[in-house]
Symmetry: C2
Subunit: 293 residues, 2 copies
């Protein structure tokens, strides 16, 4: 099972390349390996910009995807490679949950619990506890592997979409100093205050709402441990905004606690990757500017 | 069945919107209607750039996709919307074959005949003849519908990928004056000279190779009816190049017949949409420059 104290070299087996496409002068690659944190095989994608080499390593932006996604959706749909090439940054896109025949999914066949819906938490409840350790995977396991296997520096940023926006914001808030910058597209801002979020957090973390606060952006802002500025993009025509995302709650709590927030409402945009694609260039530029400071 | 002499208004039923996403300030939309040419329902996608209106109509680039694709692959994977928005052009992406329960596919279950593999020809053989009329669909049916339904001019360009590159080149060569410009990514240049091309053309058009020449870019260049310049992008690491694409044959025939060709070999790029995405901006700019002349 999880051995967070162990050096990565001892616990992670070979990282196998399963995809490699030249793109905007760099390489869009895909890898698979056995993750000790997830007790499952996992895949991730990485874009390496032109010129990245051991002599010229580049910083990394981690992209966290939303419900139902794998490591591939962002890679195929967002068009971020052009901007990563221009700014000389790598982008890593992990999967959104553990995978495999031995990994439990939603017994009701839904899409917002279980496979593709790891919520970037460390589950404490059965039957999720053994595999659903996405928080530790993203924060502790993956970065050292990326830094060992690829020509990158240890400078990191994190961004994501929807459930992955929630992941990016909570991970950056919980780890002061670990990420130069954070941004999110249409993030779930207050899962402990929504029906869907309560269901997921309840299953993964148990019935005590106190445990949910550790994975709730609004609660973390209110707790005030880390004043990292939040860049949030939100489409005004997003069908999930009122019930699941609730950017107004984030706006309120940031105002109340003087937390720096740049919430950009985009008129007429929805929840899709067409929205992400339209503004990902601005986000990559934002992160690259701070990563290369 | 096909009634090419009829005005479009009399033969085409309602064009139903089935998708609409704001993207780079314009709109990525998807439509469905009953095509008389294909004797089937068909779907197409269109990107309308910001500012396109009845008072300010824009020219249209038609994108023809490759084997196994629908109207959606290009829309999701190529990232062309950014460039269409910048240059003020619409991009229409039709499906690659007729579709529906009544449309025959490959009896052997293959992917390079039948559904998703219309080859942009008008089939003359059974059982393909009734539905597989993609050439007439692209050339005669679709443009008047686009010009009736959307804020566009009648200025047109055509481009495509792989089988769709073959479609774009043959359609432009066969219709002097109809398209301001043409370009292709990794096109099938000489289907009548390859095993796979002969199989497809034989099934759709019959055993007489003379019929195949009408849908073969190299043969059309040799016939010399239309000197429209050809812009062709080709990745050097494309696994299909030697057996199926054969850009060297196009280079030879263009040199022999003084046909203007700009063949750009791109070192290390493969056949995927990561290749298309890397250079689609240059192609949109090329077409826009000539469309807006």
């Amino acid at each position: 099972m999880k051995k967070l104290g162990d050096p990565v070299e001892k616990t992670v087996g070979p990282v196998e390349k399963i995809g490699n496409n030249k793109c905007f002068g760099g390489f869009q690659q895909r890898f698979r390996y056995a993750s000790p944190t997830l007790s499952s095989t996992t895949t991730f994608s990485i874009y390496l910009p032109p010129g990245a080499s051991a002599d010229a390593p580049v910083p990394v932006i981690y992209w966290l995807s939303g419900l139902t996604c794998t490591d591939e959706n962002f890679v195929i749909k967002a068009g971020a490679q052009r901007y990563a090439a221009e700014h000389g940054v790598a982008i890593v896109a992990p999967d959104t949950s553990p995978r495999g025949d031995n990994v439990p999914g939603d017994p009701d066949g839904g899409w917002d619990i279980g496979l593709g819906a790891g919520y970037y938490v460390d589950a404490t409840q059965e039957p999720w506890r053994q595999h659903y350790q996405m928080y530790s995977f993203i924060v502790r396991e993956l970065p050292p592997i990326i830094e060992r296997e690829f020509p990158v520096t240890d400078k990191k940023a994190v961004m994501g979409h929807s459930m992955g926006g929630h992941g990016a914001l909570t991970i950056a808030l919980k780890n002061p100093g670990a990420y130069s910058s954070v941004s999110a597209f249409a993030p779930i801002c207050a899962p402990s205050q929504t029906a869907r979020g309560q269901k997921a957090l309840g299953l993964y973390l148990g019935d005590d709402p106190a445990a949910w606060q550790e994975y709730d952006t609004c609660a973390l802002v209110a707790a005030g441990k880390n004043k990292i500025p939040l860049l949030v993009e939100q489409g005004s025509a997003d069908d999930f905004m009122a019930e699941r995302l609730q950017p107004e709650k984030l706006q309120q709590v940031c105002a109340q606690h003087q937390h720096p927030l740049n919430l950009r409402m985009r008129d007429g945009y929805d929840h899709s990757y067409f929205f992400v694609a339209s503004f990902i260039g601005e986000h990559v530029a934002y992160h690259a500017g701070l990563l290369n400071d």
